[in-house]
């Protein structure tokens, strides 16, 4: 791991935050707290899933990505469109005009991430046959799910396939091909992902399984949308690039990866809450006959990514029609395919992330756990979120660590206030009594 501070795409716009509890309750890793009437994100826990962006009615949760201008930092610029991009434009049921538009807005070349997805699928299917692995093998494509496994399901890290994602593979292959074709140094080529996904931005800044990302910038679909749209109705020259087939484009749809990998007994689950439930069951060894598991954080997979423009169900429909207009067969299997098992392999181990763990020796951890348990038992157990922590248990954790106190709980506060009121009454009565005694001696004692 590098020493540079961890970069998160998902952030808070404090100006807009009203301090409500909407996002608090939706965060799958309990990474949000409301303190002093503002949300704060606990950065070590955030997995950049974008749930909070989707639910915030004040639009106070944002995703930071690169502006299009970032491409100007490179002499040669390659766009890497996610297949999701093809589903975003009304009345456009083909990928060609979209790719042509990318070439018109400043890119020198386009390499479809769907093409890389085909190579990655091929390599994974080979690995599944040739190597004995803990089952089910878990896809590494969705960066949110990788972070989720690191934090919440570390015992499943061995199940994760050690292949880089199609985005990374695309950047790597695109630069190599471009350098070879035009005889220019790889260092002068920039590869830019056109992204439906906030977490991909985070993954590029802090890569998992590899030391450095091959991607030089991540541009949000919603930021580049109108610029592409402007050129869609114009004519264009025949595209001179190797095109992806249906196999790769279907990766944008949940289940596309599993069907491309072609394992017999596979399962695809979308939506981070659902994925968590299934990972829980995988951990309980209830799915041992499952060969392959594809978990996608967003509902409808990348089509529902937080940086998209179109409604994910509409997008799914449209992508199906794009698939109909796409060549079916995989492009000829060049040596890129044959070598992928080694060239597109992760080079670093993915380590467990221990943020959910208590600190110190086992003895100290047990003591702290007991303390949390004690505090928790004293809380009402409504998990209402009014205290600013997502659950009573989370508040107990926060109290035990000194980040909050019991009176953050509105019910505890109420209890304390009525207690104090009672005491005040008593106090008032007793002081009245003593002052009365002071004034008038002991004549009327007992009144």
């Amino acid at each position: 791991m590098s020493d540079t501070p961890y970069f998160h795409s998902v952030r808070l716009d404090a100006e807009k935050c009203k301090g409500c509890t909407t996002c608090l309750k939706r965060c799958p890793t309990e990474a949000i707290r409301i303190r002093n009437n503002r949300a704060t994100i606990l950065h070590e826990r955030c997995i950049d899933c974008g749930e909070c962006i989707r639910v915030c009615t004040s639009h106070a949760k944002i995703a930071v990505t690169d502006p299009l201008e970032i491409i100007d930092g490179f002499k040669y610029k390659i766009a890497l469109p996610a297949p999701t991009l093809y589903s975003q434009f009304i009345h456009v049921h083909r990928s060609e005009p979209i790719i042509a538009s990318l070439l018109k807005i400043g890119f020198d070349d386009v390499f479809e991430v769907a093409r890389a997805a085909e190579v990655v699928s091929y390599a994974i299917s080979k690995l599944l046959i040739t190597e004995d692995r803990p089952k089910p093998v878990i896809s590494s494509a969705c960066p949110v799910i990788l972070r989720l496994i690191q934090i919440n399901f570390p015992s499943l890290l061995d199940n994760v396939i050690d292949m880089i994602s199609p985005m990374e593979a695309a950047a790597k292959i695109a630069k190599e091909e471009f350098a070879k074709k035009h005889g220019v140094p790889v260092g002068e080529i920039g590869a830019f992902f056109i992204s439906p996904c906030a977490a991909k931005m985070t993954a590029v800044k802090n890569p998992l399984g590899q030391e450095k990302s091959y991607v030089d910038g991540v541009i949000a679909i919603k930021d580049i949308y109108t610029r592409i749209e402007k050129h869609l109705k114009e004519g264009f020259d025949p595209l001179e690039i190797d095109r992806a087939s249906t196999v790769g484009i279907k990766w944008a749809i949940p289940g596309g990866e599993t069907s491309a990998v072609g394992s017999r007994n596979s399962l695809c689950v979308d939506g981070v809450e659902n994925v968590m439930r299934v990972l829980e069951q995988i951990e309980n060894a209830r799915f041992e006959r499952l060969d392959y598991f594809e978990g996608l954080a967003c509902t409808n997979g990348c089509l529902g990514g937080p940086l998209t423009v179109e409604n994910c169900f509409v997008a799914k429909n449209r992508l199906a029609s794009v698939v109909k207009h796409t060549a079916q067969r995989m492009v000829s299997k060049t040596e890129i395919f044959e070598d992928a098992v080694s060239t597109l392999r992760m080079t670093q181990e993915i380590e467990p992330n221990e943020v959910m763990q208590l600190r110190g020796s086992i003895f100290e951890r047990i003591k702290r756990a007991e303390e949390i348990e004690m505090i928790c038992k004293g809380l009402p157990g409504f998990d209402c979120g009014s205290c600013g922590s997502p659950t009573c248990r989370a508040l107990a954790w926060d109290i035990a660590h000194g980040y909050a106190n019991e009176l953050n709980c509105v019910f505890k506060l109420q209890e304390r206030i009525s207690q104090m009121a009672e005491e005040m009454v008593k106090l008032g009565e007793s002081t009245r009594f003593t002052s009365y005694r002071k004034d008038d001696g002991s004549k009327k004692e007992g009144l």
Partner: protein
């Protein structure tokens, strides 16, 4: 004994089946129990919990951390198992079709508990109940 928690499990409530083992798992993750041990305990407690829901009249699961390791005790209030040897055989099950349709009843639960635990004992008396003890060394 350093830490001890008791969780009640209600018979027949499939919607809550898995909640207790999930809580125990969470507890272990918080304590930083090594992933491999945690996984084995998770499998053992999950299978035990499902058996309580499906086959028993209700019971409890005790979770304790002792100097020996993670100690799980599963006690129910009946109906008990008549032939323990049979019950411990892989593939032997009395689960109803309804339960099988929910993906349970392969007759693998008890054998899996035994396989995952470092120590496993089971005692049962018809009309009284079943008492299972599992120890997982850390």
């Amino acid at each position: 004994m350093m830490i001890k928690e008791t969780y009640q499990v209600t018979a027949g409530d499939m919607t809550a089946a898995g909640d207790v083992s999930a809580r125990i798992k969470r507890h272990m993750k918080q304590l930083g129990i090594p992933a491999s041990v945690m996984r084995r305990v998770a499998v053992g407690t999950y299978e035990a919990e499902i058996n309580l829901v499906i086959h028993s009249d209700g019971g409890r699961i005790d979770f304790a951390i002792t100097p020996e390791g993670i100690d799980i005790r599963v006690v129910d209030v009946g109906p008990g198992i008549a032939d323990i040897e049979k019950a411990m055989t892989e593939g032997w099950s009395t689960a109803t079709n309804e339960v099988r349709n929910m993906g349970f009843g392969a007759g693998m639960g008890l054998p899996n508990m035994k396989r995952n635990a470092d120590e496993f004992t089971i005692a049962s008396e018809v009309g009284v109940g079943t008492d299972i003890h599992m120890l997982f060394r850390i």
